[in-house]
């Protein structure tokens, strides 16, 4: 076993991993966020087969590498916080099964749509792609909203509420927020990959998405401050935490400005910053818990949900070896497929 530095002690390791799974989640939301957004826009913006193919092929080489971030986030949660995994997944049973259906549909839609000879067949998979993306984005938001506002957990850590409890207005609004956020993200990405008339229409879609997103963002923020007390407890104790939402608001504003100025890459980075700060906000709202319960005595705390020190250490070694490689070849692949999307003989 490697010698642990004073940073990685038995006491600190669960929090190191709390940070790391936060990073995995951020990586996932930023990367898959734009391709889910492209899926949502697919329902509205493209007008003909060429435009649809351009959309699908803009994310063709990238989407499944992006989704691996989710798989790895899930794997890391399972490994490093088995009790959080075992609490959240059955609690969100119906939502997560629907999420799976959505992810399956959008994945195979991209593969199958181009192989359909009939127009109807292609349209069917187009709709599958769009609805799958929309539903996935929505469900992520709903789950996030519920984790913040608190789940009904019993002594054993099992969920005792019903599906309808999860569909209360606050989490539903969070779902809408994520849909709009990803749509905006996807529109900015598409703007970078397209040219001509289609790009113009995407630019307008980006503006509309930003406006709608900003409105819902405002609503969710006020709602959280006003009636989700658990989310703001930490902020009362540590006022410095207010810097995070301040940064978030700045990023949202900057994204809008860049969208109007058509600095697409800068807009993409600002929106990525906005997504990252939302994950940090979520973490700050939950800390020291991983999952909030409606009864605070049943909260699932980071330290209690964590695996043994040995497993956390092994995991750290695995990530230490693996992650640099992942970052290197992710960069190579994004570099290889840089520039405007072209339709080639090997495209979808």
């Amino acid at each position: 076993m490697i010698a642990m530095t004073s940073w990685f002690t038995a006491e600190s390791l669960p929090f190191v991993w709390f940070t790391l799974i936060g990073c995995l989640l951020t990586g996932y939301l930023i990367l898959d966020g734009f391709d889910l957004g492209v899926g949502v826009l697919h329902l509205i913006v493209p007008k003909d087969e060429t435009e649809r193919r351009l959309s699908v092929n803009s994310i063709g080489p990238l989407w499944d590498g992006n989704e691996v971030w989710l798989v790895t986030f899930g794997g890391a949660l399972f490994a490093m916080f088995p009790y959080a995994y075992a609490t959240a997944f059955p609690a969100f049973y119906t939502a997560f099964i629907l999420l799976l259906f959505a992810l399956i549909f959008r994945a195979v839609s991209m593969e199958f749509r181009g192989k359909m000879h009939s127009k109807l067949g292609r349209r069917m998979w187009d709709v599958g792609f769009g609805i799958g993306s929309l539903l996935a984005a929505f469900l992520f938001g709903v789950a996030g909203g519920n984790v913040v506002s608190g789940l009904e957990l019993n002594e054993r850590g099992d969920y005792t509420g019903s599906l309808m409890d999860q569909l209360s207005p606050y989490p539903l609004t969070c779902g809408l927020l994520i849909v709009l956020l990803f749509t905006l993200h996807g529109a900015i990405f598409l703007y970078m990959k397209l040219t001509g008339d289609y790009q113009q229409r995407i630019a307008n879609a980006a503006k509309v998405s930003w406006v709608l997103f900003a409105i819902v963002y405002g609503i969710v923020t006020i709602w959280t401050l006003a009636s989700v007390p658990r989310a703001t407890e930490n902020f009362a104790d540590v006022p410095a935490l207010w810097l995070i939402p301040a940064f978030n608001v700045a990023m949202v504003g900057l994204t809008g400005w860049m969208v109007w100025r058509r600095f697409a890459f800068a807009a993409f980075l600002c929106n990525a910053g906005s997504i990252a700060s939302m994950v940090i906000l979520l973490a700050a709202a939950l800390f020291p818990n991983l999952i909030n319960a409606t009864d605070p005595a049943m909260d699932l705390r980071i330290v209690d949900a964590a695996s043994s020190t040995r497993t956390l250490t092994i995991g750290l070694i695995v990530v230490g070896i693996g992650l640099p490689f992942v970052l290197i070849y992710t960069t190579i692949i994004y570099w290889t497929f840089r520039g405007k999307t072209r339709l080639e003989s090997h495209s979808y």
Binding site: T72, F81, A86, F89, T94, F96, A107, V108, E111, T311
Partner: protein, 520 residues
């Protein structure tokens, strides 16, 4: 609602897991096997410059990509189901099992899916060498993935490198309803990864995957020969596929034999279920029979006397532990393992016979025109897939009633050598704290209604996907490879001419030159 309340979440969750994993398991063997084929074709292209290899690689890449998309999207389901349906299991094994899954994510999935982009979309964007490198990384990723999954699965069968400890919460041992919560914690990572059955199980599983890849290539080649299309491509495909299959079939038999021995050593109840071996004593090898579980016998038993004893212990008279050493609640179901194990072994035997016959025909230069034999090759890919599934189902159902199999003790201390240690009633005693029963592993917070709903959903969606998958696969194979404008006559750069001459040489001598089988 009354009806739904009575629904058994364990049974439904097991059905759902069986459905989703069996559907998923169509694709990993195909991609692992085809991945090696792609590497071989890419390598040959870079080495010889023969366009046919590149065209062939493009053709198989399209089929690979289709299977990969199916594999990824159905694979994510498996990860989710551990949490949604089997949360008690996840709590029990997360500390141990989780690190293998995390390693799979970091080391295998990123590699595979990242370079897949270059493999599928990068033909015109990167050079042939970078393309070959990407192909290798994709193939390596799919094999790494198998390594971690098989290691994790093997740990469930033959746990090692861990201890069982109480769980702490708020600094105190966590007690729910007077019961102390326990979990497995890792003590030795490598002992967990290389637990007693990992290596042999991995070898056997990968061999099975290579056979599937080889038989798909051979099947398509044979189909074109029957249809008199893409002749050169078809011959090379059949030839290469045949070599992989032949090596694979013999390796599968050898590794299968070793796996049977190690299964007997660590899970004798499972082995007894495979063989319908109810009574401890010398074992016969049943070729055909119908197990009669109630009367604890095999009816219409056509068996080779004592062959089972000989295979397991190289001794015709050796005593083999039977199901009678196990309490009824510790016995696996008989029917499913018995039948599926026979399906696997039967198809394996068929593959060996077919390979030998085909190699003989090939050496006499009659393989490419022998229509009945070609037809057999066309259907063999389905049989190979069925054999893969048979083996897996037998292995997993044979593990029941345990989701994590507790270790058992043998007289003399060495697994599989003496007899199992039994209590005064003659029955094996398991240490229940070391294992986990499937019935105890299911999530407590889910209802039968929810699981039934999701099971129906998966059934419908997977049914639809299966139809579309088969249709698209069929279309792609019907369409066939895009063979470049015949290089023999056009595009006459000096290099091309050199390539053509070398490829002509290889055409004329590939009768005797075995040009496949790089991965078996």
């Amino acid at each position: 609602m009354e009806l739904f309340a009575a629904l058994d979440t364990v049974l439904l969750s097991r059905l759902q897991f069986a459905l989703t994993i069996m559907f998923h398991y169509l694709f990993p063997p195909l991609t692992i096997g085809l991945g090696v084929v792609l590497v071989y074709l890419g390598l040959r292209y870079v080495m010889t410059g023969d366009r046919l290899f590149r065209d062939a690689q493009k053709f198989w890449t399209k089929i690979y990509a289709l299977n990969f998309a199916m594999g990824v999207s159905t694979g994510i389901v498996m990860e989710f189901e551990f949490g949604t349906n089997w949360s008690v299991y996840s709590e029990f094994v997360g500390d141990v099992f989780g690190s293998a899954l995390a390693a799979e994510g970091i080391f295998a999935f990123f590699l595979e899916s990242g370079f897949l982009a270059v493999l599928v979309f990068g033909w015109d964007r990167v050079g042939p060498k970078m393309h070959l490198f990407s192909t290798m990384m994709v193939s390596l990723g799919s094999i790494f993935s198998a390594v971690w999954i098989v290691a994790a699965n093997s740990w469930q069968q033959t746990p090692a490198g861990h201890h069982i400890v109480p769980v702490y919460r708020r600094g105190e041992p966590w007690v729910v309803d007077g019961e102390l919560m326990m979990r497995a914690e890792i003590t030795d990572f490598w002992a967990m990864v290389f637990n007693p059955t990992t290596v042999i199980r991995l070898t056997h599983t990968l061999t099975g995957a290579f056979i599937v890849g080889g038989s798909l290539v051979a099947s398509v080649g044979a189909w074109y020969l029957l249809k008199n299309r893409h002749i050169e491509f078809a011959r090379r495909s059949l030839n290469g596929g045949l070599i992989v299959m032949t090596i694979g079939a013999f390796t599968a038999a050898a590794t299968g034999h070793l796996q049977a021995k190690i299964t007997y050593a660590y899970q004798p109840a499972k082995m007894a279920a495979y063989e319908g071996h109810f009574e401890t004593g010398p074992g016969h090898l049943t070729v055909f029979g119908i197990p009669d579980v109630k009367n604890e016998t095999v009816r219409y038993d056509l068996s080779i006397p004592r062959a089972y004893s000989f295979l397991l212990k190289e001794d015709l008279n050796a005593e083999i532990v039977g199901l009678d050493r196990f309490a009824p609640e510790d016995r696996p179901p008989i029917w499913i393992p018995f039948v599926t194990y026979r399906v696997m072994v039967g198809i394996g035997t068929y593959l060996i016979v077919l390979s030998i016959v085909a190699v003989v025909f090939r050496l006499r230069n009659k393989l490419y025109t022998h229509r009945p034999l070609l037809f057999l090759f066309v259907i063999t890919v389905f049989l190979s897939l069925i054999a893969n599934h048979g083996g897996w189902v037998a292995c997993e159902v044979g593990r029941q009633p345990w989701i994590v199999h507790p270790p058992l003790q043998w007289t003399g201390g060495e697994p599989g050598v003496g007899d199992v240690v039994v209590d005064e009633t003659g029955v094996v005693q398991y240490d229940e704290t070391q294992g986990l029963r499937t019935t105890d592993a299911v999530s407590k917070a889910i209802s039968g209604e929810q699981v039934l709903g999701s099971l129906i959903g998966f059934g419908l969606i997977y049914g639809l996907l299966f139809i579309v998958w088969i249709t698209v696969l069929h279309q792609k194979i019907q369409k066939g490879p895009d063979i470049s404008e015949d290089a023999d006559t056009s595009s006459a750069s000096v290099e091309d001419l050199l390539d053509i001459s070398s490829s002509r040489v290889s055409h004329s001598k590939h009768m005797i030159e075995p040009n496949g089988g790089s991965g078996a």
